[in-house]
């Protein structure tokens, strides 16, 4: 239960940061928080109490002793995607900063929404 509450809290904090903060870097941190929350939620869904990691590390382990491996595999993929998005975002922010010499969103809006 604690995992669900934490992950949803993370998602909400992240959304708050993206929507309210004016600093570009903080907005990106917010995005990463949303991602992190989602990943945690996904892992929490696949978690089974008192079960071990889905690796055949001992002879005696059977599939019934393990947690669901699929969410873990998917989350690994999702983490990589999140990393790529964050990297692109930061690269774009560098370019924006070079151009405008500020990180405040309100000051760099030249295009209309």
């Amino acid at each position: 239960m604690i995992y669900y509450i934490t992950s949803i809290a993370l998602i909400l904090i992240g959304m708050y940061a993206v929507l309210v903060k004016k600093n570009l870097i903080k907005m990106i941190i917010g995005l990463s928080l949303v991602d992190g929350g989602l990943h945690l939620l996904f892992i929490a869904i696949g978690y089974v109490d008192n079960k071990t990691a889905p690796i055949f590390s001992k002879e005696s382990l059977t599939a019934a002793d393990m947690v669901d491996p699929i969410p873990q595999a998917l989350v690994l993929t999702a983490i990589v995607i999140g990393l790529a998005v964050t990297a692109v975002a930061l690269a774009i922010i560098i370019r924006l900063y070079d151009h405008h010499k500020t990180l405040n969103v309100n000051k760099i809006r030249e295009l209309k929404w």
């Binding site: 570009l24 690269a91 774009i92 370019r95």
Partner: protein, 490 residues
């Protein structure tokens, strides 16, 4: 001769080319320009070779020997065949156009991202796995963000940031939808999910559906989630604007429809689609009228056309979906041509504003001609493909006895006529204000010429495409058949 083509090539070849290009760049810049063209030509050949087979019996490719529902499958049915062929052909034409267009920035970066984008969007269409769909959506999106920011001298970075922020939210929604879906059905294969969907409580189903509509709707330019589109279209390099309109949006619309039609039962969503499509259409057309910049106008017009596509899908009849696919094809061809010619007009005159393009049509007769042709085609005048797209849409709306829709579609055509012909008028009937004019590259003219011929030929023989879209529409409607062949080996 036995040719061993397989749908995997559509994803693997451009992906491989994308990672090969930076290496090739060290050998020769000429190779960097040529390889994407060869790849896209090859993909077009594969698509056309596999085409009859897909219409006969859909090809289901099982990746790495894991049978569905455990492994990832690629499903190459009529719908996928139609859209993938469209994407590879448009991609090839875009390459022709880019051949001489990109000048200052590093070539290998541009083509690498372009190849990734092709791999991502064909992947979206081919995959039979919902998480795989998410991955391809992200590949496409990341390539699209970077391409939007490609030109340093434009406002690209700002448009790209906006796009990235909205796009990341979209992907968060899609991922959340997948998480909830997985928690309830315990599988990721789309056909398998569809089979187990009956056990899911209605409220959870609705939640998942809303999350999917919001997440995929952002990429599919559904109102009010399309705030990123006009900026991204106008700030990206011109060929990329064409790619957004011709490829990315089409793949996203496909994803939305696949999820809505296959995972969820249609009747609950169809009214919703008609209403959202109508609002998207009206708002976009009204906004297009007010635009001063030619590319922003094209972007809004593109959103409006996507609204029409959604309305057509929302009708939910076979005819309606066929009309939607026809419209998607026709729009991909015409809007690509419009973006190409608008790109040259902006490039030669050095101004983005419509008012600064006065007399360009006299100075650049071919470019102006292609733009005017595209404008007439998209309004829906015969003998262009745009006419038949709207005609089929009107017929299906009439058969579904949605009289107000007919009025709406015709009304939107009038608005389109106003703002397109305003530009065309300026191109020809105003005096040219003196600026230096360079020569239009031959490949650019060739690219536009091919598209012009396609829209004309389809305008004269619409049955050719119409016969192709009917089985494709059937695939989307006939859920049982899709489940049967996508779950091969069950």
């Amino acid at each position: 001769m036995e040719l061993n083509f397989s749908p995997v090539h559509f994803i693997a070849v451009p992906l491989f080319a994308a990672f090969l290009l930076p290496l090739l760049g060290r050998v020769s810049q000429k190779l960097v320009t040529l390889v994407p063209g060869v790849v896209l030509l090859y993909l077009s050949v594969v698509a056309i070779t596999l085409f009859p087979q897909a219409y006969d019996t859909p090809i289901v490719e099982i990746i790495a020997g894991w049978r569905p529902p455990f492994g990832i499958t690629l499903v190459f049915g009529p719908l996928a065949a139609f859209l993938v062929t469209m994407i590879t052909l448009i991609g090839f034409v875009v390459w022709l156009y880019s051949y001489r267009f990109i000048i200052r920035e590093p070539l290998e970066k541009y083509y690498m991202l372009f190849m990734l984008l092709i791999a991502g969007s064909t992947g979206i269409i081919l995959t039979g796995d919902i998480f795989n769909l998410f991955v391809f959506l992200e590949i496409t999106a990341i390539a699209a963000y970077s391409l939007t920011a490609f030109l340093r001298d434009h406002n690209g970075a700002e448009a790209a940031f906006k796009y990235l922020l909205i796009g990341s939210f979209a992907s968060a929604f899609v991922l959340l939808a997948i998480v909830i879906l997985y928690a309830n059905v315990g599988t990721l294969n789309m056909a398998d999910i569809a089979l187990r969907m009956g056990d899911v409580p209605d409220k959870i189903k609705l939640t998942i559906m809303i999350l999917f509509i919001v997440g995929l709707g952002i990429e599919a330019e559904l109102f009010p989630l399309n705030g990123w589109a006009p900026d991204a279209y106008s700030q990206a390099p011109s060929p990329i604007g064409a790619v957004f309109a011709g490829i990315v949006v089409k793949a996203a619309v496909y994803a939305l429809m696949r999820v809505l039609f296959t995972l969820f039962d249609l009747p609950t969503s169809s009214h919703f689609l008609v209403v959202m499509g109508t609002i998207t259409l009206l708002v976009a057309e009204m906004s297009a009228m007010r635009q001063q910049q030619i590319k922003r106008m094209l972007a809004f017009s593109s959103i409006g056309q996507m609204g029409l596509v959604l309305v057509a899908f929302g009708l939910g009849t076979k005819e309606g979906i066929a009309a939607a696919l026809f419209l998607m094809f026709s729009h991909a061809v015409i809007k690509t041509m419009l973006f190409f010619s608008a790109g040259y007009l902006v490039f030669f005159s050095g101004h983005k504003n419509i008012s600064d393009l006065e007399g360009m049509g006299r100075e650049k007769p071919w470019t102006g001609f292609f733009f005017s042709l595209g404008a007439l085609a998209i309004i829906g005048l015969p003998p262009f493909s745009g006419f038949w797209a709207k005609f089929y849409l009107l017929v299906s709306a009439a058969n579904a006895s949605h009289i107000f829709l007919i009025a709406l579609i015709l009304f939107s055509a009038i608005i389109e006529a106003v703002y397109y012909l305003r530009v065309v008028g300026r191109l020809y009937f105003k005096k040219f204000n003196d600026i230096e004019i360079r020569k239009t590259p031959f490949t650019g003219l060739l690219a536009m010429g091919i598209l012009a011929i396609v829209t004309l030929v389809i305008g004269v023989y619409p049955d050719f495409i119409h016969e192709l879209v009917l089985p494709a529409a059937n695939e989307l409607l006939d859920k049982a058949a899709y489940l049967q062949y996508a779950m091969i080996g069950q």
